[in-house]
Subunit: 350 residues, 2 copies
Amino acid sequence: MPQRREVRDKVTIVEIADAAGVSKSTVSLVLTGRGSVKPETRERIRQAMDALGYVYNRGAANLRNTQSKIVGLVLNDLSNPFFAEFAIGVETVLQMAGYVAFMANTSESVVRQTQVMRMMREHGAGGIILCPALDTKPEDIAWAGGLDTALLVAIRRLPGVAASVVIPDNVAGAARVTRHLLNLGHKRIAYLGGMHSMVVRQDRFQGCAEAMAGAGQAIDPGLNIESMPTRDGGFTAMGSALALPDRPTAVVCYNDVVAIGAMLAAAKRGLVVGRDIAIVGFDDTSEARHVSPALTTIAVDAGGLGERAAAMLLERITNPASPATTHIGPADLVIRESCGAYQHALAAAG
Amino acid sequence: MPQRREVRDKVTIVEIADAAGVSKSTVSLVLTGRGSVKPETRERIRQAMDALGYVYNRGAANLRNTQSKIVGLVLNDLSNPFFAEFAIGVETVLQMAGYVAFMANTSESVVRQTQVMRMMREHGAGGIILCPALDTKPEDIAWAGGLDTALLVAIRRLPGVAASVVIPDNVAGAARVTRHLLNLGHKRIAYLGGMHSMVVRQDRFQGCAEAMAGAGQAIDPGLNIESMPTRDGGFTAMGSALALPDRPTAVVCYNDVVAIGAMLAAAKRGLVVGRDIAIVGFDDTSEARHVSPALTTIAVDAGGLGERAAAMLLERITNPASPATTHIGPADLVIRESCGAYQHALAAAG
DNA sequence: CCAATTTAATGGAACGTTCCATTTTATTCT
DNA sequence: AGAATAAAATGGAACGTTCCATTAAATTGG
């Protein structure tokens, strides 16, 4: 007696060929759209395909091709809306080009990052967009020189790595928002949040310091305070800033989430943000708009950076001879309430 | 004369074998860790691998295996922090199990959703977690009965589809928050946001209506107002609610983002939310905590749902005989300021 | 020390596709 | 109509791996 069939085995190209009374080569032709096949035959094959529920096996195809049509996107912190926006931008461009993104979240873990990138390469990713986890070392991506997988580093640049780069103009943005505070009359300005080892902090701090220098001022070293780049980090950093005998009158924060933590700390001490003290952020995440008072910050267009990153990577994939390039995106000042500009203007008018 | 070599071709298992003076079968053995090979030989092979920069070709391997170790995650709206949290939960569990997630964002487009799921199946995904785009029809995922790719539907259930399901307890959650409002003395309660065709809205509205009925009340049909499930949608829906001759005193919203839009509309009309009118949300996204006044809402633990979804899918992948199951996660009331409970308590005490 | 056993290592045939070199069939030109 | 050409269809050898059936080498037992 015939044994009950356990699992219907995958339907392949030759079964389609049999069903359509044609050779497997012909089926391949209609699949890839490469040769010329009689419309009538094509139709017969198409019908056989959905009748049998055929699904194309890209693994098998890539075995000959090398063209994998997949790219990896490695994010250090998907819970940060900034990176979600970035990812959406990447995805949009990729999907238009018929590529599919292989996305993964490392939660700032370098070992996870390594694992995930290995997996992606093993699956034949033609390129990887990497937003590196903290403490990523050049040797963690030693393969980057190779020709099989193109690498693009985004958001956090990675000194000493041969790869294309897409970042916002951190130093110009920080300089811009600092000048805004200087124009409002602030002199005693603090820089809050982020760890000293982060290149992004270095860049932003540098912009801030340059703007101060341009106005003949300098940042008091005691007002340059590190913290984790989190809400809690901002909260405690602001706490120590306010405990100082000579408080700052304005605070530029590493990013929006630090700024929001700092606002909480100020409020807790009875200060009205925007009146008693100015606080500004960086990134312009959607939270910046909805927090109260609304946060003055630097908009870097996360989605746009993502689109640009994807486009640049695609270019390098399709044309491997092209050199690695660097794109530095705009960083625009968005004035809201937390800097006190509005109240300042009122006072000037009144 | 020899032509300059264009691209170093991929190094394969047999090149490793040659370099290590061994057969390709032996290399395969150490790669898979299946047979027994002398430690000394294993070491020699390992060294050859990193000397030549070998990268495992999973496509080729899967050709024999069928075990792909990849699963797809299809999200309808990555820009919503709720789904980002969900995705992180999924990713965490998947990565522990040695799987890699293939993540894609559809932005509520059914055609994009179809494309992306086809791609994933073509790449050999063993399963797909789908947060369906609006207007997804059962026939859009007709393949779901097949045995090659397991399907799990999350967050928005999809009537008429043979798949496992993971959703929060929408009706219980909505009932709970509605009872809370009833306990605060509200009688004229509106339901705001979401389109009538969405099953999630149907469930939440049902919970709300049941709670009202339990208190001998009913929702005035004129206070059941549809809108897009966005901030703008909430804003305009609230606008029309407030334009009514007989205004609601409390509003339960489809989700947090609608609620935040509604709060803006109320504030614009000079109402103090939490005092002049109660507004509550659903989801407990991180924005709910930071908006002012802080939003009373229903917490559904997006991350936990994600973890559960991944675990359930993995179970079905490794054991295809197991039946499709449904998990309904908890929905807990989080009382903050926007419902006025605090002021209510003060008044009662004073 | 030889047989029996265990441990290591090896060919070679798949797996599902592509693509080159051919062959078959249809179309056009004089 | 017959030759020349163009269009359509086909075998079969890759691609990089796994795994079964073997063989070779090492270990054990009496």
